[in-house]
Symmetry: C2
Subunit: 463 residues, 2 copies
């Protein structure tokens, strides 16, 4: 035994290394095919053009959202998939109404109009608007120290900027967005009559950025209106407050929350050739805010997800496991689509292995975040070298995506495409999130990067 | 001996590892400082705003180039450097003259105006323009097969697109640009009377992209005019030629080459604290094409180089070796500044250790190319982990930069900042290379990335 052990081991090592290097060659060829097809014969950009320029902003419950459901269902049907269907989901319907109006009134009575937008979910102001003194704070934690005495009857102005020193702009967003989401509910406790929140934007410009807020358990009669102000507007207001702490701020908005309405997740599927009852998901969210097309957030993620399926069909790759593109409805102000999809997975006992979301813009892809255990992560990381020719270097643990989040606990691996984040918040939820600012190549590289990861998962899994 | 060898080795390993981990901690702290300062208290964007919007396109020999020399010299003087000076260099002066004019004339006599621009260095057309039949080719190698019989008296239309399947767009550029640089000189050999070249642009749009061409040893009386046509124009012309191979193309341009004029490289220096006679260079080129501001090419590289010096002053880092920011003149159509700088280095026997150029746009930095030997490259690569928090993952051997290229052979390491290249050729040499398309954060990240590499080189060298 002793004499044969070493050669046997070497033999097995050789076999395994030959087989793994054969795999690597085959995988490299497949990735090259996926990238080349996406870059030279892609469809994502045309789809996004239609979604953005023919349909437009797709706020849940809007006619545009309905159009987008029909359009993407029809386009998926064109791909010759094994199954395309709509998954019903009830969604909130909130509308902005007339354009908001706001001004700063100096002690001398001069009025300077400033750009605001109602935050999603906010109540309207009274029909004549509200006018009050302003208390500027840098965060929620300052409110209790100020107390009712200082805040009652006032408009609270949340003006903590996103931290520009953070390299990942999503971290900077995470560190500032509590002002937007909870500013109104917290301020109401101290008798404030409205809140104005500095837009979640790292650069200085004139565009207010929408986004969801929620009132938590604030009773309906205690709810106060909340709006975002542009970063330039916030800087200006702040500088004026230093000169005239008693100046007045006026704003008016007539947004409205309606009863929930019927909508849908749009799903296209290629049934697995050998493991049809094991599922992989790629997705983005079909709804957007209403101030622009929502091309980056998240038209890009939707067309990239559709493109993954199209690329597989185009290059003739038949996945072993069932793969679905899921265009989730209502990520922005309810996450109803993501929750509904996960509920249905659970109800039907569908075995989900893997889900990948693209919801961070159509910028140059840099890599992926993964939510999974260490063993799976190690396996996934072993594929990273295959991505090097495509300048994909980032494989880290981290948040995957909001819509696929509800699958956690019922799935092996959740992943999120990580595009370059530097410009994302220039556009996020603002009037300039339009098709013009999406680069065709960057969008296509993202789709190819997603398809490549799905392919590798399909071939090698995490077992 | 035998008994003490292992502990001794371990002792040295421990010492060396402690010292190297102390270095790593100190280096990490310094990089963090450089990035934070660039992102929260940077000056590069303001400088670029001025260069782009107050001065504009800076073609060699133009009044704008002269203004840019004065402006950057003055701004470097503001930084309190040890030395700021102008290095005289004679540069070519070529001017575009009146806007070019071109149309496609169908057999029925319909004329369709199309967007062209004269290529840099081209001769003008006769004052009435030229009109001739068009021969479309995909490259220089088709010319000899066509021969004088097919090409004499014709306009040659070079229409080989950049290869969209290449991930690095500079490779795609390298694979297509011979049509622009040598199309006219090669076509003239076969009696062609003009050339039209598809713009070096990966996307389809209406903008012609300028850029240098040269006539090589073509005698003056044999030189034919050369222009770029927009990618949309090229596609359109090509599709019409399929229907009407005999259609006519007309173009008129009145560009002109003057005698060389006096210009300057602009140089700012912080003298090294311990090795004042050993030099490190950061640079970009101050000249640009004339159709736009040249914000990406290469205003970005200039202000980033200036920012490297400013960041060192700002955080109070005193480099051991002398560091110079060199704003080279005339990269675009002559490289006179780069050659002059290298000549002077040689003439004065200045010992240059390291040069880093930024001339690939102000986009998110991804890493560096290095031109150096294996030993130096290995040393440089050992710093790569320090860049991981800043999402810099690309340390490869490759082309550094045109302006610092002439230093090769007289320097240890040449490096080129590698920003994300996906959008570079959307703007390159075209009317849309303007300030608006530069992201402040991306520009600042590039400057911090350059400063970090210079700092590491200054601290650890390649010895």
């Amino acid at each position: 035994m002793k004499t044969t052990f070493l050669p046997t081991l070497l033999f097995f090592l050789t076999i395994s290394s030959v087989s793994s290097s054969q795999n690597a060659v085959q995988d490299s060829i497949m990735l090259k095919k996926l990238y080349t097809t996406a870059l030279t014969d892609g469809k994502a950009y045309d789809w996004l053009d239609y979604l953005s320029n023919e349909i437009g902003g797709r706020l849940s419950g809007s006619i545009e959202a309905e159009s987008a459901v029909k359009y993407t269902e029809a386009e998926l049907n064109e791909l010759g998939l094994d199954k395309v269907w709509l998954q019903p989901v009830m969604v909130p319907k909130w509308t902005r109404g007339f354009k908001e109006y706001a001004y700063i009134e100096s002690l001398a009575g001069d009025k300077t109009i400033t750009n605001i937008c109602a935050l999603g979910g906010s109540v309207p102001t009274p029909s004549l608007g509200i006018k009050a003194e302003v208390v500027e704070v840098k965060g929620l934690d300052e409110l209790s120290a100020l107390g009712k005495e200082k805040l009652s009857g006032k408009i609270v102005f949340f003006n903590r900027p996103m931290d520009a020193s953070l390299i990942n702009t999503f971290e900077a967003y995470g560190g500032a967005v509590d002002q937007r989401s909870r500013g109104a509910s917290e301020s109401a406790k101290y008798g404030a009559i409205g809140v104005i929140v500095r837009s979640m934007n790292l650069r200085l410009d004139d565009l207010p950025h929408a986004g969801a807020m929620n009132y938590g358990d604030t009773p309906a009669n205690m709810r106060i209106p909340a709006a975002a102000i542009s970063t330039n507007g916030a800087e200006y207001l702040s500088s004026l407050l230093k000169l005239q702490p008693d100046l007045l701020f006026y704003f008016k908005q007539n947004c409205k929350t309606f009863d929930d309405v019927q909508s849908y997740n749009v799903i296209g599927e290629i049934t697995g050739s050998t493991n049809p009852n094991e599922y992989m998901v790629v997705g983005g969210h079909l709804d957007s805010w209403d101030l622009a097309d929502g091309s980056q957030d998240d038209g890009a993620g939707c067309v990239q997800s559709m493109e993954v399926l199209r690329l597989f069909k185009k290059i003739g790759y038949k996945p072993k496991h069932t793969i679905r593109a899921v265009l989730f409805m209502n990520e922005e102000n309810g996450l109803r689509g993501g929750k509904k999809y996960a509920e249905e997975v659970k109800r039907k006992g569908e075995k989900h292995l893997f889900a990948l979301e693209s919801d961070a813009g159509g910028f140059t892809p840099r890599g992926f975040n993964f939510q999974t255990n260490d063993a799976n992560f190690k396996k996934v990381q072993s594929w990273e070298p295959l991505f090097k020719p495509y300048l994909i270097h980032y494989f880290e643990k981290g948040h995957s995506g909001s819509d696929i989040g509800p699958l956690e606990g019922n799935i092996d691996v959740l992943a999120g495409l990580q595009p370059d984040s530097q410009r994302y918040f220039d556009y996020h939820h603002a009037a300039n999130d339009i098709f013009e600012y999406v680069s065709k190549r960057e969008l296509e590289l993202g789709a190819a990067t997603m398809a490549s990861l799905v392919y590798l998962f399909d071939m090698h899994g995490t077992k």
